[in-house]
Subunit: 289 residues, 2 copies
């Protein structure tokens, strides 16, 4: 009989029996290059690629766009197939939530800033569906886009706290040629808004440049980015913030990585964008947690 005292060794023992590595790309569908880049990366790195498409009602607030969230299942199936997905998990809401949940998950840290500040319950819904999906799919590695960097930070905490046997990879945001971060919600934008939307990324690069030129990572820098953005977009700014990553705490001299993040409410779409960089100002593209 073997006595094991650490979680790491227990995970290692169990992993030694796996015959396949399984890469998992959970999505809400309406697939774009942000998703397919994750699928292709998963296909390169794993024996089996599972993707899921599930618009999770639990993570939408009562006044959010659950009912109108863009869906195109047939197109998505074709795209997934063309991008290395072996198994596409496509449950309906009754399959995932056959009855009111008796067990509820909640999360405190990393959630009361950025998108979490205004979207009460959003991340509780995210960790609930992901805990279920991880148990359903049992992946060895899960791939997320860093466009939703706060979500990735929350998933990192979920995996750590519940000892979920999965490696988390955050992948660089995929952008249009003009810099706009790819997002399923971009289809909501009017032509004028679409033109302005590129300014989110411009503002992030403007902030990074200030930092590289010696500006301290403090309120002044945040205000400068906010002012830059305010001048360029008609939408209302929800937030501009600079925080340590992935802890999402105020930046201190000990912060090794930080995130500069913005959110703008346009008339028909709320857009978010961010860049993560180290304390030399180098952008971080891939993070393995």
């Amino acid at each position: 009989m073997k006595v094991v005292r650490t979680i790491k060794e227990m995970h290692k023992l169990r992993q030694s029996e796996l015959i396949k590595t399984v890469g998992f790309v959970p999505t809400m569908g309406y697939l774009h290059e942000g998703h397919t880049s994750l699928m292709n990366k998963a296909a390169t790195e794993n024996d089996l690629v599972v993707a899921s498409i599930f618009v999770n009602p639990l993570q939408f607030g009562p006044n959010e766009d659950y009912d109108t969230y863009p869906r195109d299942e047939l197109r998505d199936q074709r795209i997934a197939k063309e991008n290395g997905v072996d198994i596409l998990f496509l449950p309906d809401a009754t399959e995932m939530y056959p009855q009111r949940m008796n067990v509820t998950l909640s999360i405190s840290k990393r959630t009361n800033v950025l998108c979490g500040a205004k979207r009460s319950g959003h991340f509780a819904g995210v960790i609930t569906v992901l805990t279920k999906l991880f148990n359903i799919v049992q992946p060895t590695t899960a791939y997320f886009g860093l466009k939703d960097a706060q979500q990735v930070a929350v998933v990192d905490s979920l995996i750590a706290d519940l000892n979920i046997p999965v490696t988390l990879i955050g992948e660089a945001t995929v952008r249009e040629a003009d810099g706009l971060a790819k997002s399923s919600r971009n289809v909501y934008l009017s032509t004028a808004e679409r033109a302005e939307a590129t300014k989110l990324y411009d503002a992030l690069l403007y902030g990074l440049n200030l930092f590289k030129n010696g500006q301290q990572p403090n309120e002044h820098l945040i205000t400068s980015v906010r002012e830059f953005l305010q001048d360029q977009v008609s939408g209302s700014i929800d937030y501009v913030n600079l925080l340590s990553y992935p802890d999402l705490e105020p930046v201190t001299e000990n912060s090794e990585q930080m995130i500069l993040a913005v959110a703008v409410n346009f008339e028909h779409a709320r857009l978010i964008d961010n860049i993560i960089f180290d304390n030399s100002g180098t952008i971080v593209n891939t993070i393995t947690f």
Copy 2:
């Protein structure tokens, strides 16, 4: 590419790749025949048997016996080894809770009766540690003793809600020759209390007999059992209850299984016991959920 729409099929697909079945017996140690019967059953039914010993601080209330809970690690290791355990997972509290949990789990149904009524937070602690242990050990089947029948009902709900890929088996309570349910806490009893402790099981069988003889499964039956017990023990009765199992709701004519459960506070130990029977009055020994 395969499109999968049900959780059952997804689990089946993933299970087809497993090379080993893993039986898991989570315990708090101080092993007795209640535990070893689970270990031996797991050894018969699986390629690999993992047991864990962890006295989980999260499931003890501030005035409960966490500090004094009986522990004997060397003896436990010998017993586990002799009873078919291949891997014994023996983490310390820092390994399981390196920092304050950011993610918290809670549960509402099946917990506000019996032991849950007075032990606030107990079952939240139980489902938290078991979610962690299931992720750490990744068993295919988990074995629990039905002496903690409410715990088994709670774990059943946890597994269902979070889609944990494990089969749950509840095994018959193991008893001393005189009927006392085996429990690590029996060591706390004085000689006089030990003699009285057999009356818990007597009271359960008395209640079952009333049911078999035509007494309706209602308050009258519960009161009769309570009176029987009150006459026989010096300890104070915490509860006597008859509920549907595993839902732990009031018994109705649709209830297929019910549990008659008692808890008595002796001076140095709180003892619990129960029997589960179907509506013909036949005792249910093993339940596969």
